[in-house]
Every structure is written in C-alpha cells, then in structure tokens.
C-alpha cells in the first residue's frame, strides 16, 4: 500500500480566505492511500518545506501531494524538497488550489469542495507515480544567432567573447539591420553608423564568429544542447574569398532596381552592396533583376571584375550544423500603410514614413543627407510629424504602443531644426512616452530649445493643396480644430513583427503572441528565454524596443546561452514516452505524429512456441522526446505511455475528479 502525504498550503490568505483549510485537510486525510495530511501557512517557505521533509521521515511517506499554487510555479521547488528528504523527485504531485480555485471562485463552500476534488485527483495520480530518473545529455558548444541586426551582433559578440563558437545567420547581404539605416540615435544623437560599424567589423573579424550573410535557416531539429539546423547559403554569385570590394562591378552594372536599404527612395544595381559600410563588403547579384539571369545577356560585371570573383554558376549551399543554443534576433517590420488612406502616403512624395525620413536625413542616404522636399527638391519650412500612425489603433493598425516613435520623432524634430533653424516643426501626438534615461529631457529639448509645436491630438487628413500639403488635425488641449500647411509630413509608422515570424516560430517550435512577436517564457522573470529550452530572444522580435533595450536583451540572451553552453551535460526531463514492447503492434502510427522524430522502428526477437520470431516495434529516443504525449493517443492499445502522465494516471485523475 502506498503511503501518501498531503500538504495543504494556505498561501497566507490567498488560499485560506476562500478555501476551508481544515475541512480540506480532514477530507484529504481520508483519501485512499493517504496516511498523513497537514497544512501550513506557506508551504513553499523554508519552514513549510522542512515540515514536509520531517513528515516524510516521521510518517514514512513514499510520495506526497502539495495542494498549493500552480505546478508551473512551485512544482520544481517541491521536487527538490522531495529529493532533499531522500524521495525521488517525481513522486510529487501538485493540486492547484490557488490559481485554479481560491483566486477564481468566491463562494467558500464551492471552492472548498472543488479543492477537495482537485486534491483527490492529485492523490490518485500520485498513487500511480513511479520513480523517474533524468538522463545526461551532452551539450554542443556552439551557438546559432539568427538575425544580424544590432541585437544579433551583440549576442554573437558576447557569446564569442565567452569562448564559444557562434554562427551568425543574416538573411540580407549584409549584417547591420535597421540600425544601419538610421542617421542618428536618441537621446545622445550619436551617429548610428559610427557606433554600429565598429561592432559589425568586430563581429566579422572575431575568430569565434562565422558570418552567414545572404543565408536563411531552413530547418531546426533537435532539442536544447543538441539542435541541428539546416542553413541555406543563397548563391551570392560573387566569390566571398576572391572579391576585394573594389566596386567596379556595380558601377558598370546597367540594371537599376529600387534599393531596399534606402526604403525604395533610391536605385541600386542588380549587383550591389546594400550600403557603403556593408559587412561583408562583397556584392551580391540580385538574380531576379540581373540581365544575365533574366535574359542571358550582359555579363559586364564578370567581364570587368579584376579579381575574377563574379561567378554566375554559383549554387545555393545547404549546411547542416549542430548547436547547443539558439538566439533569435530577427527584428521587426514597419506597418504597411495601405489601410491609412487619410495620410496620402504613397500618393504624395512629400509624405514619408519615419524610416524613409531617416534615410533622407542620412548622409549616406538617397539625398546624401540633404533634407529637401522629395517633390521639388526645395528646403522644407514646415514639417508635420504625426505619431501613432497605426500604433495604439486596434481597428486598422496595432493596439500596442510602438514605443520608439515618441523619441525618434523628437530626434527628427531636432535634426530637422538643426538643418533649418528658421523652420517650424509640428508634432501631433496622443501621449508622449519618454520612459528612459535622458529621454524626457531630450523630448523637452525638442519642444523648448527647438520650438516644435506639440499638438495633442491626431491628424485626420493630409491632402495636397497647391504645392503644399494641408494637414487637418486637432489640438484637443485648446479644443481647436487645426489646419497646417506643410511642406513635408512624416508618419511615425507602427512597428510590427516580421511578417514571417510565425513561420520561423513554427520552425523553431517557439510561440508567438497575438501580434506575432515571439513569446518570452515569463514576461517578468524569464524575459529573454523562449518557452522552448535552449532558445533565447533578443530585440524587437520579442516586442517593440529601442537600441539600448535591444542591446541589453541581447547581452541577457547571450548570458543565458553562455550558461547553457558552458555545461558539459544537461539533465533531460525524464517525463518522456516509453514503449511497452509486449503491447506494441508495430503499426508505427506513433512515428507519424511525433514532432521530434524521436520514435524509430526496431526489430525484436521473441520466442513463440519455442520458435524465435522477429517483429517490429516502436522505440523512443529519450534524448529527442520532449514529452508531448501525442504518440500515446495515436497508439490504440496504449503501448506507448508518457512517463509522468501515463494513461493509468490520467484515467485515475478522471475517475477521482468526477467523484
């Protein structure tokens, strides 16, 4: 007979106020197999845990149930308690009588009855708990960083500096990301390139970092410590080793295409480097617009290349590499403004998104840093900045705050006024959010020193009026509807998750929130980890973020990855599937539903009527199995069972909870 102990936690008043602790303890004491039931104010405290430990010894308990908060909170705590008292840690069950009971029900009688039912189920499950032992799995001491923006670069540098190999995979031809597109950075107005390019160079030259630019992660298999990624190095058509970056090829190239880096405000060639400081400083041929690849004519780049680096026959290269940890730093996209016709964006050249404005301000941008109206190349005298375009807009845009717009709009005001001190900046805002070191002061400078007129309210319509733009807005503080004649209108467009973030999430087996930003394991306590062990998040792929935050998160993610990589072995969760070979029919349906390819076929030999016969059965690789249990349902006779959640256990829970 099992000797089960039940420990009911008051959680101060959190449980005790709604659940009758005495009644619950008394009822638990009478449950089948229970030899001891007690309660204490805070079971998770030192005293609470020592009460459990001494009860285990005194009452010779061989397993126990804690009725307390969610197992997601303290299951691991009480498992450690069990281990400390010499019990196998998997002989512990938690009845969640706080989150799932006392906090959601008001009627004490009902909550007490439910708490008893939940404990009854946990006791029934505990009675069928078996000792489980974690196995050691080795760790591959290499990290994969996906995304070569400032977040990815920082994470890669930190991990590499700790002495681990890092592969940095970037989809575009150069690392640098959005930060490379920026002119200055708030709140210090450092030149973005000046602070970014040294980091890019450092990443490129770091002996422990391998850059895979113009490359994509296609597949990720495996599990924490042992991921296996398939990386496609797209054909660059230029030999990375031979090319000297002299630039003759792109000077001579006759094909002109809109530059992605310049937000389509300038033209690039079919063979190009996205921007002058690109790393690697090796061009790539955009085959879709190259004459050689589209019409089999031209070939000028190949003819003129002094290094003989242009190679039209280059093919995609597919690599398979093993990694212990993965850092995801894929950044963000800018919201598409198709649904926002009122701003005349796309209809009038003087209406720009902030990122486009940034390119125009930038000395390496399409205008060489001269801030002129795109429509007629004249200096703008009045510029209207409109914030929250698509942000905090739950009907047409995104309900969240994009977080960086208040600050970069202030920056834009300052940069604009620096160029044209006599000009006037107007900023429509809903709220000004300047939470950050030196942020409020920076914003106030834009208002007080640079005289920007901040108008609380939004602009309802922007339309051409002669050679100007007429902005109709409101100042809700004075209650006046306003009209402003503008030379340019700059829209602080919402930032959103990368449009293919859900696909990447699926590929990695991590989750996304409602807006397709990657979900952290815990919003407060595990903000740089994904739910899937061994995968870490950095930067705006997890939610809108500015540069300092991205860099901090990247270093945080790197630290977490380093902790993992510096281990020789990991302990695997023993709650994995196992096959009862005598029941297994060998239909192998389980193989089909396993997301981790953790089940394979094997042949066993058994004696039937004295004759040795072979038959096939399923076999679980405990290192690959992640314990989802999908296989158990695909198995009709129940030959596959998930340890820790066996059919017997769940069935016993059902029986007990329905009583």
């Amino acid at each position: 007979m099992k000797r089960i102990g039940v420990f009911v936690c008051w959680c101060g008043t959190n449980i005790a106020n709604t659940v009758n602790i005495e009644a619950v303890t008394e009822a638990a004491g009478k449950m089948p197999g229970v030899v001891y039931a007690g309660n204490y104010k805070y079971m998770c405290s030192e005293i609470g845990q020592s009460k459990i430990k001494s009860a285990i010894i005194r009452e010779k308990l061989d397993r126990f149930v804690v009725a307390s908060c969610s197992p997601r909170m303290h299951e691991s705590t009480f498992r450690k308690t069990a281990a400390a008292a010499g019990l196998n840690p998997y002989l512990v069950e938690i009845a969640n009588i706080r989150e799932h009971c006392s906090w959601v029900h008001k009627n004490k009688g009902e909550a007490t009855a439910k708490a008893i039912a939940l404990i009854r189920a946990a006791v029934a499950k505990a009675a069928r708990d078996k000792e489980l032992w974690a196995t050691q799995i080795p760790v591959e001491h290499r990290a994969l960083v996906i995304g070569g923006g400032i977040g990815g670069i920082q994470a890669a540098l930190d991990i590499a500096d700790a002495g681990f190999e890092v592969d940095l995979v970037e989809r575009t031809p150069s690392i640098g990301g959005h930060m490379a597109q920026l002119d200055k950075t708030f709140p210090t107005l450092d030149c973005s390139a000046c602070i970014l390019t040294p980091k890019m160079g450092e990443a490129a030259s770091h002996p422990k970092i391998t850059l895979y630019t113009y490359s994509e992660v296609e597949k990720v298999d495996g599990y924490v410590g042992n991921f296996e990624a398939t990386i496609r190095k797209k054909a660059r058509s230029v030999d990375l080793e031979k090319c000297t970056g002299c630039g003759i090829c792109w000077e001579k190239c006759p094909s002109r295409v809109k530059s992605e880096f310049d937000e389509a405000l300038s033209m690039r060639k079919a063979i190009y480097i996205p921007f002058p400081q690109a790393v690697p400083n090796v061009p790539v041929i955009d085959r879709a617009s190259c004459r050689w690849f589209t019409r089999e004519k031209c070939g000028i780049c190949r003819k003129t290349c002094p290094a003989g680096a242009v190679n039209f026959d280059q093919e995609d290269e597919v690599l398979q590499k093993k990694y212990g940890a993965i850092v995801v730093a894929t950044g963000f996209d800018v919201l598409d403004l198709d649904d926002f016709g009122e701003y005349s964006y796309g209809k009038h050249p003087d209406v720009l998104t902030s990122l486009e404005f940034e390119r125009i301000l930038n000395s390496s941008g399409p205008t060489g840093g001269r801030l002129l109206r795109p429509s007629n190349q004249s200096p703008p005298k009045n510029v209207v900045f409109i914030q929250c375009v698509g942000s905090r807009d739950k009907s047409r845009g995104k309900p969240y705050c994009s977080k960086i717009c208040c600050m970069y709009s202030a920056k834009h005001v300052i940069l604009f006024k620096e160029k044209y001190p006599e000009a006037q900046a107007y900023v429509f805002y809903i709220d000004i959010r300047t939470a950050g070191k030196d942020f409020e002061e920076f914003h106030r400078r834009a208002v007080e020193e640079y005289g920007a007129l901040y108008l609380k309210g939004s602009a309802g319509k922007v339309f051409p009026d002669g050679d100007k733009l007429l902005v109709k807005g409101v100042d809700s503080l004075s209650g006046h509807a306003l009209e402003i004649e503008a030379d340019m209108v700059v829209l602080a467009t919402a930032i959103k998750a990368k449009s293919d973030a859900p696909q990447l999430a699926r590929l990695l087996g991590i989750s996304t929130d409602t807006h397709a930003f990657f979900m952290e394991a815990h919003p407060k306590l595990r903000p740089v980890e994904a739910h899937t062990a061994g995968i870490f998040l950095a930067g705006a792929c997890q939610g809108p973020k500015d540069i300092p935050e991205t860099v901090s998160q990247a270093s945080g993610a790197a630290a977490k990855a380093i902790v993992l990589l510096s281990k020789e072995n990991l302990l695997s969760d023993p709650c994995v599937s196992e096959v009862n070979e005598s029941l297994c029919t060998g239909c192998l349906a389980c193989i089909k539903v396993c997301p981790y390819s953790a089940i394979t076929e094997k042949t066993i030999e058994e004696k039937i009527h004295g004759k040795a016969l072979q038959r096939r059965v399923a076999e679980v690789n405990v290192a690959l199995c992640q314990g989802c249990g999908s296989c158990t349902v695909s198995c009709r006779p129940g030959a596959v069972n998930l340890k820790g959640f066996t059919n017997e256990q769940i069935m016993a829970e059902v029986d007990a909870i329905c009583l």
Partner: protein, 145 residues
C-alpha cells in the same frame, strides 16, 4: 457523481483537459487576474492537447461529467509544434461522431486558449458551464451504477 446527486438545483460538472503550455497557463493567468468563473469546472493538466485520448473524454462522461472541454494552444502555436494540429483532426471527428450518436454537441468542446488569454479562459469556462447548465445533466453516456 455527488455533484449531480445532491439536493438542490442542477449543478453541472465540467472536466477541462488543459495543455500545460498555453491553456493551463491561461487558467493560471485567470487566477492571477482574479477573473472569476464557476467552480463547476475542474482542470486536469496534460502536456499537450494531442495527449488527450478520446478514452479520457468518454471516461469522464461515463463517470458523471456533464461537459468536457479540451483546451490547447492556438493552431500554429503548439509548444510541441504540431500536437494541436493532430488534436484538431481527432477532436473534430470525435465531436461530429458524438453528435451523430445523439449526444448534444455542446457537451464536448475544444477551445484554443493561449497563455496570455486569462480572460478568455474565464469566459470560455463560464460560457461552457452556462450552456451545460441549460442542457441539464448528461444521461446519455454516463454509467448508471
């Protein structure tokens, strides 16, 4: 079964199988946010919605559940990548089959509730309880012993 046998107005018993990563966490969040829902709902934690066998669902009905809910991550968000996709097929077929046998379709429901949808968890549980309450006790699939 005491829930249904006791005196007074009918109180349904709802068993909810919740996946550990999304729906159970959503339930936890409902708790943290003190969003109330009826105490008729009792949750069984499972790793994934794909780990919920029809056997458990039928067993719950046999043992006196008036309604069964399976809750998992939204399709595409499965912690185990694809579990809920399999579950979606399994349960849609089961749901339609139970209806074919004459069971009220409301009694077996599947919901996708993410870890951030505490309010949805509470709303789904409240709504389900009220629906089942209106239907009355499950007499069709339960054991009479």
């Amino acid at each position: 079964m005491s829930v249904n046998l006791k005196q007074g107005p009918f109180e349904p018993l709802i068993i909810a199988f919740c996946c550990n990563w999304c729906s159970y966490a959503g339930g936890d969040l409902a708790g943290t946010g003190r969003m109330t829902y009826p105490a008729n709902v009792r949750v069984i934690r499972v790793p994934c919605s794909s780990c919920v066998s029809s056997n458990f669902i039928l067993r719950a009905f046999q043992r006196g559940a008036d309604g069964v809910v399976v809750a998992g991550c939204h399709p595409g968000d499965c912690h185990y990548t694809s579990g809920n996709y399999f579950a979606r097929r399994r349960f849609l077929l089961l749901q339609r089959f139970l209806e074919f046998l004459g069971m009220e379709p409301e009694r077996f429901q599947v919901h996708w509730i993410s870890a951030s949808e505490g309010n949805r968890f509470a709303a789904v549980m409240t709504e389900t309880t009220e629906k089942i309450r209106a239907l009355g006790p499950n007499r069709k699939l339960r054991d009479t012993r």
